[in-house]
């Protein structure tokens, strides 16, 4: 049952929610005490390293590990033959197995082919150099359009396209076709006064978290194991490792370290099962830490895309038809996430006629992982670029054009369902009324606006709350805290219980101490862990009231909870001095024992979220250099629990989007090898590249959360690619359709512009 559907967002006076207290993990993080993935050591620990394919596509003819095994200090050498396939019918798990260690064929530059565990890093390095691999290099393909062509080198020999009728008889690199929409687009375009169609390209980008993947694993011969991992989901790590290595889930205890950024990239496993398997072989703890180069070559970047968008409008700005074809490649495995691009592409608009087709394409690139609103930013880049072009074509203000077509409550979304209460219009109005929108621009400057949408979701969540005899509260959650969520959880618990914020301490519990929790993803933590925390608090309150009732000798339903105290419900209930949480907790040994609150749910009703961004760009027309000189984010947060961290999510997403728009890209050589596997040439924004990022928190409550919370983490990366492209195109005087808008591309476009 969706228990939470009964909870209604209500206007209430919050005393803690909406304030900005310091985070509970703050002092550890400003003093260097916080322990991240690579910061843990264990007695007898070995160091694991992974050997990776230097080829984009190659058959592994032979691996000779004998010399490495003979090296003093080497305790385990592992290849795919040490990882029997236990995945059964689970195709997704099979792909993970193939990805963590190549089985016969290396599918991309950086694909793992062997691993070692040794007594020191230097011995492990030496051992890697002693492993001999004979490769037969195979033809490769990294470009999405090339990969779709008939006759392209086949990434997987047995892939038959799904979603196409009749099913093709021959394998290809196309995994799936997706289609969404409603109405009749040809009728829509026929009714339009202006139609614009463009092709767009975007390169793969990386989440760029500063902390490389790291884990410490220990697995004994009895099948009992422990892991310390930087991950967005330690239950996911437990489940996946257990399934791949044939272990009982409950015998594997996984602790989530502090996590140094994830943004979706740590929602799956790469090194964790390898570390565990090495530990099993060596019967010693093994630590594996990726190098930055490995992170770029062998973790999970985004899709690279090719997108065609066509939109038609009436002179008054009403969109009559909208169509998109999206081609995404997410590496050598199905699952480019093109469906999320397809579903979100036109989700900002109330459209009668809309059709989106998505193609999921394989190529010799690393296996994609999620990146903040996965797949939506590229689709929004294409759609919002065309919307802005249409606005200028019909002489309409770009915000007015969007307002004219904005999705609202009751709009049938292009991906199917009908929207409940949403806040797109409010974000557009906030942008239009912001001083930024009216600020003058000078020569070589341009302003861009774009909207963005993300679904958000809930998922399996389990929270436990324990009251100490001194009346303080320990809160155990199972969703790793990436951006300050422990602070938000403490705030919601304190709000509900009616006690001060600093009387609650939240921890991220290990997998043996709390029931299953899904990964920290889908902007779900403040929503679903928050919802579970509030309900765990209500569960505790119910018990507190029962203890008070018992103490007073009155019925339980004659007790109410107000401002941290149990009180008789009214005059008829009797006259008793209110009992504080602290008093009830102190007395609990004599009223029935310790008091705790719990809540378990598969949360639904996350509430979609929208944003409108504005960017000002300035171009150096002689070099094509583009700077962002002003930026404003207006986003619907539903209800901001800790506004500073909401703003932080807005700002962080916006800047990641700015990087994606201007400089970040995977650059492959003709040999299919990644040429920029480092922070030197994979150019994420640095402090001096940026202005301050203004924020406007719009609050249109989500009816699916007791406080009205909507997830905020992901939506902020959806509009900036387009907002920057629109600003940059205005500054350069030419429509820029290829990301990143790196200086050589911009300069070429400026020199090629008509007139």
């Amino acid at each position: 049952m969706a228990q939470d559907s009964k909870l209604e967002a209500r206007e209430r006076d919050f005393s803690i929610v909406g304030t900005r207290p310091n985070r509970p993990d703050g002092i550890d993080k400003v003093t260097g005490k916080a322990r991240f993935g690579a910061d843990m050591a264990a007695p007898g620990m070995l160091h694991g390293l992974i050997l990776r394919s230097p080829h984009a596509h190659a058959r592994i003819k032979r691996i000779d590990t004998s010399k490495a095994e003979a090296l003093q200090g080497v305790k385990a050498v592992l290849t795919s033959k040490d990882l029997p396939d236990l995945t059964g019918e689970d195709a997704g798990l099979k792909d993970i197995l193939i990805n963590i260690m190549a089985r016969g064929t290396a599918l991309y530059d950086g694909h793992a082919v062997a691993a070692v565990a040794a007594t020191s890093k230097s011995v492990a390095r030496k051992a890697l150099s002693l492993i001999q691999v004979d490769y037969e290099v195979l033809p490769h393909v990294t470009d999405v359009e090339e990969a779709m062509k008939p006759g392209a080198p086949l990434v997987r020999s047995d892939l038959i396209t799904q979603g196409v009728e009749p099913a093709p008889s021959k394998p290809s690199n196309i995994a799936k076709r997706h289609e969404f929409g409603h109405g009749d687009v040809s009728k829509g375009f026929a009714a339009a006064d202006a139609v614009i169609e463009h092709n767009f390209r975007t390169e793969a980008t990386h989440q760029g978290y500063i902390e490389p993947h790291a884990c410490l694993a220990n697995l004994g011969p009895d099948g009992l194991g422990e892991m310390w991992v930087c991950t967005q989901g330690h239950y996911m790590v437990r489940g996946t490792c257990a399934a791949l290595l044939g272990l009982d889930v409950s015998k594997l205890r996984v602790t989530a370290s502090e996590i140094g950024g994830g943004f979706g990239g740590k929602t799956t496993v790469f090194i964790e099962p390898i570390a565990l398997a090495l530990s099993r072989m060596a019967n010693r703890p093994v630590k594996v830490v990726m190098s930055r180069e490995e992170v770029f070559r062998a973790s999970g970047p985004t899709a690279a895309t090719s997108i065609r968008v066509k939109i038609g409008v009436k002179k008054d700005g009403k969109v009559t038809g909208a169509e998109a074809e999206l081609k995404y490649t997410g590496g050598a495995y199905p699952g480019s996430g093109v469906e999320y691009g397809a579903m979100s592409a036109f989700a900002c608009y109330d459209l009668e006629n809309v059709k989106i087709v998505g193609w999921d394409v394989l190529s010799n690139r690393p296996k994609l992982a999620a990146y903040r609103a996965p797949s939506a930013p590229m689709a929004a880049f294409a759609v919002e670029s065309v919307m802005t072009e249409l606005a200028s074509k019909i002489g309409m203000d770009p915000i007015d054009l969007r307002l004219k077509n904005a999705a609202k409550e009751g709009t049938k979304a292009p991906y199917g369902p009908t929207f409940n209460r949403i806040g797109l219009r409010e974000t557009l109005e906030a942008a239009k009324n912001h001083p930024h929108y009216k600020a003058p621009l000078t020569k070589n400057q341009g302003r861009g606006v774009a909207c963005g949408f993300w679904f958000n979701f809930g998922g399996n969540t389990c929270v436990s709350m324990n009251l100490g005899f001194d009346g303080t509260v320990s809160l155990a959650v199972g969703t790793p805290d990436i951006g300050g969520s422990r602070a938000s959880m403490c705030m919601m618990a304190a709000e509900e219980l009616g006690i001060p914020y600093d009387k609650v301490r939240a921890i991220v519990a290990d997998t043996s101490s709390l029931g299953h929790n899904d990964v920290t993803d889908g902007s779900r933590v403040t929503f679903s862990t928050g919802l579970a925390t509030i309900n765990a608090a209500r569960d505790a309150i119910k018990k507190l009231c029962a203890r008070a009732a018992k103490t007073w000798g009155i019925p339980e339903d004659a007790v109410v909870w107000e401002k941290g105290h149990a009180k008789p419900a009214g005059g008829n209930a009797g006259k008793f001095e209110p009992l504080s949480l602290q008093q009830l907790a102190a007395a609990s040994p004599s009223t029935g024992g310790p008091i705790a609150g719990h809540y378990e749910v598969n949360a639904d009703g996350a509430g979609v979220s929208f944003a409108t961004h504005m960017a000002d760009a300035e171009v150096d027309p002689e070099t094509g250099s583009m700077r962002i000189i002003r930026y404003t984010v207006c986003q619907d947060a539903g209800k901001a629990i800790h506004p500073s961290y909401v703003e932080g999510q807005f700002q962080g997403g916006a800047v990641q989007g700015i990087g994606w728009a201007l400089n970040e890209e995977y650059i492959y050589g003709k040999d299919g090898r990644l040429q920029n596997a480092g922070f030197l040439d994979y150019r994420i924004p640095v402090a001096s590249d940026l202005p301050m990022i203004d924020t406007v928190i719009v609050e249109v409550p989500n009816p699916g959360h007791p406080y009205g919370v909507r997830g905020v983490g992901e939506t902020s990366i959806v509009p900036p690619l387009a907002a920057v492209a629109n600003a940059a195109s205005a500054a350069a005087g030419v429509r820029l359709t290829v990301l990143p808008m790196s200086p050589p591309r911009v300069l070429k476009a400026i020199e090629g512009r008509a007139g």
Binding site: V30, G32, A34
Partner: protein, 160 residues
């Protein structure tokens, strides 16, 4: 294997001795041999600044210095910043301004920002941004970090 090198140095004011491999970086020594894991490794090539420390007061990346080079020098790391358990103004401002999300870049940024404020008590926003250009942060978009540093500088000027 090459023979280890015996090094005597000073870290956060304390005399420290260790033996390291000749090609081992100061970062590896700090983290793996001395348990000073507050200094982080984000890239190992001097491109992210997470391993920032000072050597004789000069800001450097500890991944670009050998452990053997520390002989006779004075090293300062994040662990030495909060003297006697009291946060510095700068550390406190990072908390007040929510100048961190995941916190992995925070030690390096604090060490770098402190070095800036020792050199320049009244930096402009642009000066702060350029000084910290070598400290990558992927979470915050830098806004709140810059505000925290500017506010700390302002408070420190007032109390100076």
């Amino acid at each position: 294997m090459m023979d280890g090198i015996h090094v005597k140095t000073t870290i956060n004011g304390d005399a420290v001795e260790y033996v390291c491999e000749p090609d081992e970086t100061l970062l590896d020594v700090l983290r793996d041999r001395l348990g000073l894991t507050g200094t982080k490794e984000g890239c190992g090539s001097g491109d992210c600044g997470a391993c920032s420390v000072t050597v004789d007061g000069r800001l450097i990346c500890s991944c670009l210095m050998l452990g053997a080079e520390a002989q006779g020098h004075e090293i300062a790391t994040i662990e030495g910043m909060a003297e006697g358990g009291k946060l510095t103004t700068l550390q406190q401002k990072f908390l007040d301004h929510a100048g961190l999300q995941c916190g992995i870049c925070t030690p390096g940024i604090l060490v770098a920002a402190e070095a800036l404020l020792k050199k320049n008590a009244s930096p402009t926003e642009t000066e702060v941004r350029y000084w910290l250009a070598g400290n990558l942060c992927r979470c915050t978009g830098y806004d709140k970090i810059i505000r925290a540093v500017m506010d700390a500088a302002s408070d420190m000027r007032r109390s100076a």
